[in-house]
Symmetry: C2
Subunit: 265 residues, 2 copies
């Protein structure tokens, strides 16, 4: 079984990491569309065009199942991707909402993500389908702060304090009692400790990586993790050197070889 | 005379604004390659491909003279652009270094810009050609802070304090006595007041917009500003609505109409 994992950049490697642990018997193809990233501030039409061409590439390389590890592409382009390829497609917005459903008792959840993901209200819709009410907030500075490497940094702590207090104030005004915060961007798990420190006690922070791996395992009828040694090939549309360097941070293990792909543009 | 002005996004509108004031008798074509922005963290090969296709588009629309208002494209792709089109091309790195030459008495200058511009050392080379020694620093958080609208904000003040104190420390270690700071990114003029507040007294802050307009006027033998009413057409490769909204902030006047262009990709 070959599983294709797609993201606009490196963040999706946190999802690949969870997949490697949960379904070690599969082979993996990971594509980061690094020449055209970030998707988070772009329009639906542009994101759909980029994501569809990326999905077609992974299928042409043999992927039989696709995991869209990019929240923005999952939020804006899942239909376009499903139309573009003949294989099953799983998106992280769907799995993030599933994770919130399992976690939340009050049925009120908070979601933080990029501007494009939030403006699409894809999380609110996916939560509503599961009987949850979501309050969403765009946090456009978090990705640049992670990429600057300012993880455990006072500026990042202050930015998180501002974003999260605005979000809690919004919840208060709407009379909601959130007990769950969904990290709606695959960069955010790198700030997980800082985010957990910044939210009020009693709010559970969830990222979709583990839930996504579990959902994929169920869909594929995958056996429980064993002793297999999964193989992964890595593709990027821009600098493979940067992919190797930055990507290792997200995957938590060294990336030896990255293949450069030209998807046009 | 039709002048084409190119940037990866909106920042180049600060250069267009200076051109409109200095050479009002010209017509202008402005292209923001917003579907593929930002260029600042991408490789030379990718930036060159994007910039060359953008330059060819402007010439196909009638531009007889090109101003590359994107620092990253000027730093990484000026040769590729000159090979791609048969018209004269002026880049903002060259004009920024020219501005520093006029301003500096100590011959030591500071440059802040995006990661890609700094890694290219294009400013250091352009300064060296003019007998100036440059110390350069990448400031990747400033563009996202401007785009978040956090112009007059304590977080931005703190980020500037950190970046500029690191830069001054580097100058001190190397025994330099800088008297000039070049804003090597067209987003940074929006933070000009905050930057002037953050640098030590006696350091002159310059952006390349005014110098670029003056150099273009000289190259084109343009008369002094008169009563003409320049016309400008605007093109973008992504959401024209966002271009109108964000662009007006950079141009300091309303943008009524933006044409969507598909450059592939």
């Amino acid at each position: 079984m070959k599983i294709g994992v797609f993201d606009s950049g490196f963040g999706g490697l946190t999802v690949l990491r969870a997949l490697l642990e949960r379904i070690p018997a599969a082979d993996y193809l990971y594509l980061g569309d690094t020449a055209r990233l970030p998707y988070g501030a772009k329009s639906r039409a542009t994101v759909a065009r980029y994501a569809a061409s990326s999905a077609r590439f992974l299928v042409s390389e043999g992927a039989e199942y696709l995991v869209i590890a990019c929240n923005t592409a999952s939020a804006l382009a899942l239909d376009a991707i499903r139309e573009a390829v003949p294989v099953p497609v799983l998106g992280v917005v769907e799995t993030g909402a599933r994770g919130a459903q399992v976690s939340s008792h009050t049925r009120d959840v908070l979601v933080i993500a990029t501007a494009a993901t939030i403006e699409s209200h894809a999380y609110a819709a996916a939560c509503a389908e599961r009987g949850l009410q979501a309050i969403e907030k765009a946090c456009p500075l978090l990705v640049p702060l992670v990429e600057e490497g300012w993880i455990d940094h006072p500026v990042t702590a202050e930015v998180l304090r501002i974003y999260l207090s605005e979000l809690m104030e919004q919840a208060r005004i709407e009379g909601m009692h959130p007990d769950t915060l969904v990290l709606g961007c695959t960069h955010y798990p790198l700030l997980r400790a800082q985010i957990e420190h910044a939210v009020p006690q009693g709010i559970c922070v969830i990222d979709s990586a583990a839930v996504t791996a579990e959902q994929a395992a169920q869909a594929l009828g995958a056996a429980l993790p064993g002793e297999a040694h999964p193989r992964a090939r890595f593709f990027a549309t821009d600098s493979v050197a940067k992919f190797r360097a930055l990507g290792s941070r997200f995957l938590s293990r060294a990336i030896d070889h990255v293949e450069l792909v030209d998807l046009g543009g």
